[in-house]
Symmetry: D2
Subunit: 330 residues, 4 copies
């Protein structure tokens, strides 16, 4: 049994907390949150003691921490937990500054600690199957990857303002997925973005509709599109073209019932909430973290994966702002 | 070039007539119809001379006739045309009486004439592909065949009254398809039918919604369902289960455009008119008839196929009326 | 918290047992099984005490029992549990003899006890949605219902021999579904069956491939087909045609990944194990039982529903054996 | 009856020629081709006289010409035919030089002649339906357009060398479609391209796999991807996201037959030849040209549409070569 503590008990922290309880591999040792009421509510629901961060890090019986606190606390908590000898799982992003991430990873590397970053989509059973079949050569060399992500509805503008912008907050998942599928680092980034869903998002200096082109050294191409709005559910699709064929992961619909009449055929929207859509992904992600701890294997996605995605997000942000393509230093 | 005459210039006759004109294998020699105005209209449209039936049958330069006249004239015209040495293509059914069909086929057999019956669905590219893959053993031995046919809307009651009833008028196509796919003769027939679409059809002694079960000597099973109404287009589906897998032919939709919003995904109805749905089938059917004439091969479907389908339709009619299963004499 | 005991700890008992543990509405009081090792294994897994049936029935703190013992013990356990004042959930079927079921229900009715029968498919979210939309009039009056159920592979012949035959063991679910959807009692039953999958099933006097036609008083028609084999997964489909349109529930596939190359498009088989396919259905079923206990509502499906399905299964068995349609006494 | 001549009797010329013959609105007056054998072959097949270009342009009884000659002759033939008072339909592109197109259109405008450009995809029934529903406001304001075109296999390198490159030869259709759907002019063009299918294409200075981002003045975004290879048929898809929903046109498959077994479900490739895929589009395109002539309406797509698409193709070519985004002068 791995002894685990949770740092941050908000929406995503509560999700991971419930998965820790459901897992047969872990003992849920403690919950911490800067807001005592938040920590207490989850502690009571899951019957887990609430403790302070310092106390948790000092407790040598606790082997691992799961960091779900606000983004601006991630890098420091990773450093402190690694220094305290804990295995670390941290929600994306490590930080909004690539330089800060580099510094953090350097310190962590010195400590030899396990650090895994929460790009949950790699663990979605459908996307994981697609990537494995791709990796097994089922469609030959990758030529063109298309990733589409659309949220059901935009977050509040107050969230947008602190988010780092769409490319760092939302498309970061797609940059990680692009790297996961391309099998090569993108070196050229083109981005365009617009505030079409809500002018207030534009007024806050961000975009809500965006598309990106990536190109790797060997010439592989990736298209990504994002929108903060999808009227028909949480749209999550991948399509990969290779030399010998195509692999794609279609959306998951919320019902298998179909209706037909003179106006045609009607079927259900796609699952519309990310916690529901990615329920199995979050469980498999936690299992992968536990595998690293038990088997001493390399975490995947690693801190380096977190850094690489952030660099692409920074480049895309700059490209969309300047109207010019950006080069990535390999 | 095969010299062809058309006997009967109504809706289905006009269809065959236009296909004769479009074919590069035939010379369209003459059109006859009991209603001179009907014959003249088609003759003018297609630039083909209108002549009498006797004259056509006496003309030794005419090699083949296509019979599209009313059902009660079919058997006699087949006999006369065969006696005159013509190759004969006759629209289904040969006659509403199985005994009359037997007599007709006996006379025709004596003459050695080519007689092909117009079960157009065997020539639909999708159904033909399915049958060929079945025949090639792609799913092993056939176990269960399901055939579904739904017309967009019922015909006038005046038509129903002279039609011989749903099983002989509409399901006859499905009985032929069942035999085409089962590869064995059905020996047991169960049928139920109801007038649910239009009470006037019930008042006329017929049904508009019906289902049938067939069982062959080796135990293969076929389900057929029919309705005189399909709100979403002309529904035509086949599904065959075999020892090693399943083959099915899905409907053809009238458009590839799909719409999605909060109410879900919407796509187009299926093609809703049999002449449109089976356009390629009618062309391929005519080609198959020309192949028989040019190559001397056996017509398929043959007059015997017409008789067998009629016997099944008679049995189903009786089963639905009596509530009892019927045996077919093998 | 409802205090619940489990009678029978085999495969289906273990499933219900795990769902009791996961439910926040119940306290899992005891497990009983004629085989002590079976009871102990589940008791240890779920941390629930193993007790004898008599002891459980005598314990007045236990409010409800879930009966998952062998079929030939169902009726007596229902009677005893009802007499002891317990609410009863019993897996299908109540008994293989309709007369025995009638006797049982009569006794139970006298006791006033809650008795719910385990037709799990009514609680499948897709089928339940379909039925609710049907009931709400979305496609008008029901005209034709088609139900298709195919198991991935046949059970051992030893199981077949004690099963009561395909119509009572497997199609019983579809008879219940037919009644659920038709909204009327079937009065006419036609059945055909064959042993095509495994001759040993035929030698044991049973069939493995079967189809049924049902007709109600108002003329509604239902088609059912069953096979003990589906090469592409556990096939579970429903299609209902009404006066104003069609509603159907499609299969659930085991993956959303699709592959395409020169041979065409390939997608995953359908989910192939009933416990996986119906995981949410079993949870919702248990919740419905708890609702009856907490709210005093009528159980649905009731013991009467169990009897009605059994009568249809008996009639279908006789029809398949005699080759004759059977009438149901309304 | 409109009197029409065909200038250029190659593959696409023959296609238009056969459609002229099939049309009831036109009289096919003459065929010209620089290669007499090519002209003669088509003339004999269609029973149309072969004549010289000068003779055709001088013949005042000929109202319209359809230009299907090599690209480098288009602009001059358009100018000469317009000067001779003919209505002109010219296959895309008008010329590989935008400046040459501007000059040509200026001369033509002076003459007042009807000039329509052959962007056939606007007339595909599915794409036309999509655009009409978009235009009718079915999904609100357009936000993101995705266009995907993949040819079954690359043309010979000898063709590639004279083609102007993928963006001008192949993606030109998609640039026109983008403008057709966006309802605004793109002002910013990002392109990436690679030679992944065939290194010989790269050696010839061209790419075979490419993707483009377009952005309009109001911020609408368009993604286009092209490949010279699609293993599973001629891939032609459009997806448009708007403020209120999504509209897309799916591929057309070559068969409606589906197979299932333990390896999953298999369906047919998509139609794999552009002449087959766009058969109805070419017929409707010709009808639209005849409508312009008969009703005096503005041709659509016009010469201006040809110029605009060419400017986008030029910008994309430069962007892919330089790695920098390009601005379009509005």
């Amino acid at each position: 049994m791995i002894s685990v503590a949770l740092l941050g008990a908000g929406r995503i922290g509560a999700l991971h907390g419930r998965n820790i309880v459901a897992s047969r591999r872990a003992r849920f040792a403690a919950i911490a949150d800067a807001f005592p009421a938040t920590a207490d509510a989850l502690g009571q629901e899951l019957n887990v003691p609430v403790r302070g961060v310092d106390e948790i890090l000092d407790d040598r019986s606790i082997q691992a921490v799961i960091i779900c606190s606000p983004t601006d606390t991630h890098a420091e908590l990773i450093e402190r937990a690694a220094a305290a000898g804990k295995a670390v799982f941290c929600e994306k992003p490590v930080d909004l500054s690539a330089q800060r991430i580099r510094d953090c990873l350097q310190k962590v590397q010195a400590s030899g600690a396990t650090v895994m970053i929460g790009f949950n989509r790699r663990f979605d059973p459908h996307f994981a199957e697609l990537q494995q079949r791709l990796h097994a050569g089922e469609i030959g060399d990758v030529e063109l990857v298309t990733i589409l992500s659309r949220d059901p509805a935009p977050p509040p503008v107050s969230y947008i303002e602190r988010s780092g912008g769409l490319f760092r907050d939302m498309m970061i998942h797609d940059f990680d997925m692009a790297r996961f599928l391309l099998g090569e680092e993108p070196l050229e980034v083109h981005a365009v973005g617009s505030a079409l869903v809500d002018p207030a998002i534009g007024a806050a200096g961000d975009v809500d509709t965006a598309a990106v082109l990536l190109k790797t050294a060997s010439g592989r191409i990736c298209q990504i599109s994002n929108s903060r709005r999808a009227t028909y559910g949480y749209d999550q699709r991948i399509e990969v073209h290779g030399a010998k064929g195509m692999l794609r992961a279609q959306n998951l619909h919320s019902s298998a019932v179909e209706h037909a009449d003179g106006s045609g055929f009607r079927s259900a929207p796609v699952m519309d909430f990310f916690l529901e859509r990615y329920t199995p992904a979050y469980r498999r992600e936690l299992d992968a973290f536990f595998d690293c701890i038990e088997n001493g294997t390399e975490p995947n996605p690693s801190g380096e994966d977190g850094l690489r995605a952030q660099i692409l997000a920074d480049a895309a942000t700059k490209s969309a702002q300047t109207g010019q393509a950006q080069r990535i230093d390999p």
